[in-house]
């Protein structure tokens, strides 16, 4: 083994819920290079898909990066079964994308919805380290799905946890959390929002009138992650950008979310077929 090479060993795993799990993967060079806002492309086995995942944390001293994954389809469901401590990913490339621009905002709201909680963490931490006042707003469907709230409490000046069903924290969506923060603070410079497209769209709508700069991290379907295929193209203003090399962070008030949501449905049928097939073969091997 040499300094460039890593065998992508999974050194730790934690399950946050039935569908959400965390992997800590060894890649010393990437752990040193990674910056908030960047992502990786993972291939779990030789016939696997290349899937983009945000670098949710990185630790240069331990030589690891952390991924938080929601099992939603064939690849991620399978990873939930196969990615055990001591096993290896087949491929892990990155860090990809332009790191988040940490300007000189003094007071920032960092919003994470569902799985977006993980990718917004390194940004919130970096903002805190740069001296900003950080308000965290985390949204989950229900109490059981909550994760990393402690981790956030350590780096946020204020933390608002929301649940859709009111089983914990504020009863409501992250947009309610944003509004609550805006009521108290009239000097917010910036909002960073990461989560499902629908949520990011709603956050942008919530800040548009007040004219607060709102950065979002887009998650279109990707293949290479290096600007080569154009599959990840998104409309920002009137311009078409490739999220993997021109993003993934963009000015949310410029993003055409409707276009993004339509394009995310592109492979719906094939994804459903693959997931079905996979769960059927799984059941067969289990009996």
């Amino acid at each position: 083994m040499n300094e460039f090479h890593s065998d992508f060993e999974i050194v730790a795993r934690e399950d946050f819920s039935d569908v959400t799990f965390m992997l800590e993967v060894r890649h010393p060079m990437m752990a040193r290079a990674a910056k908030p806002g960047q992502f990786v492309i993972v291939t779990s086995h030789p016939d696997g898909e290349r899937i983009p995942l945000t670098i949710a944390d990185f630790d240069a001293a331990r030589g690891t990066i952390t991924l938080v994954i929601q099992a939603v389809g064939k690849t991620t469901l399978e990873m939930k079964e196969t990615c055990r401590v001591g096993t290896h990913l087949y491929g892990l490339a990155g860090p990809m994308g332009i790191p988040s621009h940490l300007g000189n905002s003094k007071k920032v709201i960092c919003v994470g919805g569902g799985l977006g909680v993980a990718p917004v963490y390194p940004q919130a931490r970096a903002l805190k380290e740069s001296g900003a006042y950080v308000i965290g707003v985390l949204g989950f469907r229900t109490k059981d799905l909550i994760f990393w709230d402690e981790k956030f409490r350590n780096i946020c000046d204020e933390l608002i946890v929301c649940t859709d069903d009111g089983s914990a924290g504020l009863h409501g969506f992250v947009t309610d959390g944003i509004r609550k923060a805006l009521e108290v603070h009239d000097d917010i410079d910036e909002v960073v929002a990461i989560g499902p497209p629908m949520m990011m769209k709603a956050c942008c709508d919530a800040t548009r009138e007040a004219g607060i700069k709102t950065m979002v991290s887009l998650n279109p379907i990707m293949v290479d992650g290096t600007g080569m295929c154009g599959g990840c193209r998104v409309k920002v203003g009137e311009i078409v950008k490739f999220a993997c090399v021109d993003g993934p962070d963009f000015d949310g008030h410029q993003v055409d979310f409707d276009d993004l949501m339509v394009r995310l449905r592109r492979y719906k049928e094939e994804e459903a077929a693959a997931t079905k097939r996979w769960s059927e073969t799984c059941r067969m091997t289990q009996v």
Binding site: E3, F4, H5, M29, M30, A33, Q38, T43, D47, G48, E49, R50, K74, T75, Y90, G91, L92, A93, G94, P95, M96, I98, V223, D224, G225, T226, G227, M228, C229, G230, G231, R233, K235, V240, F242, V245, D246, D259, V262, R263, R265, R266, Y267, E269, E270, E271, A273, A274, R277
Partner: protein, 494 residues
């Protein structure tokens, strides 16, 4: 040997066996079966051994063509291989994918009266024999202390890596994808260039001691500057290709069902999506596919969709067949396979089916007007000639732009189109960093990228103060030993 004349040589170009168009348009087997020995010997009889061979000048890397054809005629195939690899590292690849009709064969003297000598097929014959027999031109390598980094594993990177390894450097090739080969791997499909050929070429590099690090996105994992300053590389070569597909820029071009040829080909070739659902990457296919563009990439996209089972596949191109930039053989094969061509047709809008997917493409007829800067007649729209083609998938293959990653992450000087700027020695604005291939010239050809990799290696050796490894013709004996048999070549002291 009696002097050959155009009248004394076999008049017909030796035909090459090809798979039946109907059968092959449903599979990914190689279309062109290549010459066998008898066919190659026969075709070699057609070269006139011109005293001033035009073909050599027509070849981007000036292969000594009559010399290798003469060796074939004498059944000295190993000798022929040595002649070719004197300048071309990848004969099995280039024999298959070079646009010979615009290069060596386009200027071959025989071609003035008859069909030109089938130089490409002969080159491939030799390249395939070399793979089958495991020939490598492996000079005696005297190790140096130099570490060389090569970024990108396409033909440019492969060529530079080979030459620097032969000069005794410790060479590491970094590739962003999880497999090496560049366009040869992810772009050009198996029915034109089987993966086994690319594998064989990469194995040869491994035998020379070249190391490959895949899954490595240079610029982001570490920068070019870090390679020199922190990671101990004495020199770096950048061959990252053109990538970044150009968009149609017409209404409806972001609808679902509109995708770049690069995405289609990458899914099919590199990610093996044609075996979905046995592999995980999907490649949803339309029933009626339209491909915009008529270069090699477009031809590959057309023929891949046909093979994946589309009912109809049509090509839309704004100029006429004469101006079409693809290799003649590919256009011919595509026509045989039942692909429709709409020449002099330009798309103006992709039409929504009401749910965000493609229903049709509206096009306008073109006619050729005055010549433009490139000397080609400029296509101009015919007013009122708009019409629609029903389609559920539109693939665009209208060229590429420079990949921005290296530019974003280094101080290297770029030209106004975003390509790397180099001097006559292919050195970039940073001393010790060289570049070549599509990332310097914009999308070009395999042979030009390969040639640039070798030219950069020559400059790199001068920069490092290394002498040239001289590869003597291997039929020579050294100390009474047949060099060929022992598969080594002397290094001449400078």
């Amino acid at each position: 040997m009696k002097k050959r004349t155009v009248r004394s040589i076999p008049q017909q170009r030796t035909p090459v066996r090809e798979l039946d168009p109907v059968v092959r348009s449903r599979n990914f087997e190689e279309v062109n079966c290549g010459y066998d020995e008898q066919e190659a010997l026969l075709e070699s009889q057609r070269c006139l051994f011109c005293p001033e061979p035009k073909c050599i000048a027509g070849c981007p890397v000036n292969i000594n063509i009559p010399a290798f054809i003469e060796k074939i005629g004498a059944k000295d195939y190993r000798g022929a291989y040595d002649v070719i690899t004197g300048t071309n590292l990848l004969p099995a690849v280039c024999g298959r994918v070079c646009p010979q009709e615009n290069q060596c064969e386009g200027v071959c003297v025989v071609g003035e009266t008859l069909e030109p000598v089938a130089i490409g097929r002969l080159e491939r014959f030799v390249g395939d024999l070399a793979i089958a027999n495991g020939w490598v031109n492996r000079p005696y390598i005297e190790p140096t202390d130099f570490k060389v980094g090569v970024v990108g594993s396409g033909p440019a990177g492969m060529a530079c890596a080979a030459d620097m390894a032969k000069a005794g450097c410790e060479v590491t090739v970094f590739e962003a994808f999880h497999e090496a080969g560049g366009v040869l791997r992810y772009g050009i499909p198996d029915f034109r260039l089987p993966n086994s050929v690319v594998d064989a070429e990469i194995d040869k590099l491994r035998e020379l001691g070249v190391k490959f690090e895949v899954n490595t996105l240079v610029g982001r994992l570490f920068t070019i500057e870090q390679m020199l300053d922190e990671l101990g590389f004495s020199a770096v070569f950048i061959g990252t290709g053109a990538g970044y597909p150009a968009l149609l820029g017409i209404p409806g071009d972001s609808l679902n069902g509109v995708l770049s040829a690069n995405e289609l080909l990458t899914r099919c070739n590199l990610m093996k999506a044609r075996d979905f659902p046995n592999v995980d990457t999907p490649l949803p296919l339309g029933k009626h596919v339209v491909v915009v563009g008529a270069g090699n990439t477009a031809m590959d996209a057309l023929r891949v969709t046909k093979r994946l089972g589309a009912e109809s596949v049509a090509c839309v191109y704004r100029r006429s067949k004469t101006e079409c930039p693809a290799r003649a053989e590919e256009v011919h094969h595509a026509e045989q396979e039942g692909i429709e061509f709409h020449w002099l047709t330009n798309p103006v809008e992709v039409i929504d089916d009401g749910s965000g997917s493609v229903a049709a493409i509206r096009c306008i007829r073109m006619e050729l007007g005055e010549p433009d800067d490139s000397g080609r007649r400029r296509p101009v729209p015919v007013p009122g000639s708009e019409f629609e083609i029903e389609t559920d998938q539109v693939v665009f293959a209208i060229g590429t732009n420079a990949n921005p990653i290296i530019g974003q992450t280094s101080k290297l000087k770029l030209n106004k189109w975003g390509y790397l700027e180099t001097d006559a020695n292919l050195m970039t604005s940073i001393a010790g960093v060289f570049a070549g291939g599509d990332i310097v010239t914009g999308a070009a050809t395999v042979i030009e990228a390969m040639g640039a990799g070798r030219r950069a290696a020559r400059s790199m050796k001068r920069y490092l103060g290394l002498r040239e490894a001289i590869e003597e013709p291997s039929s020579e004996t050294i100390f009474g030993i047949d060099a060929r048999e022992h598969n080594f070549v002397r290094v001449k002291a400078a």
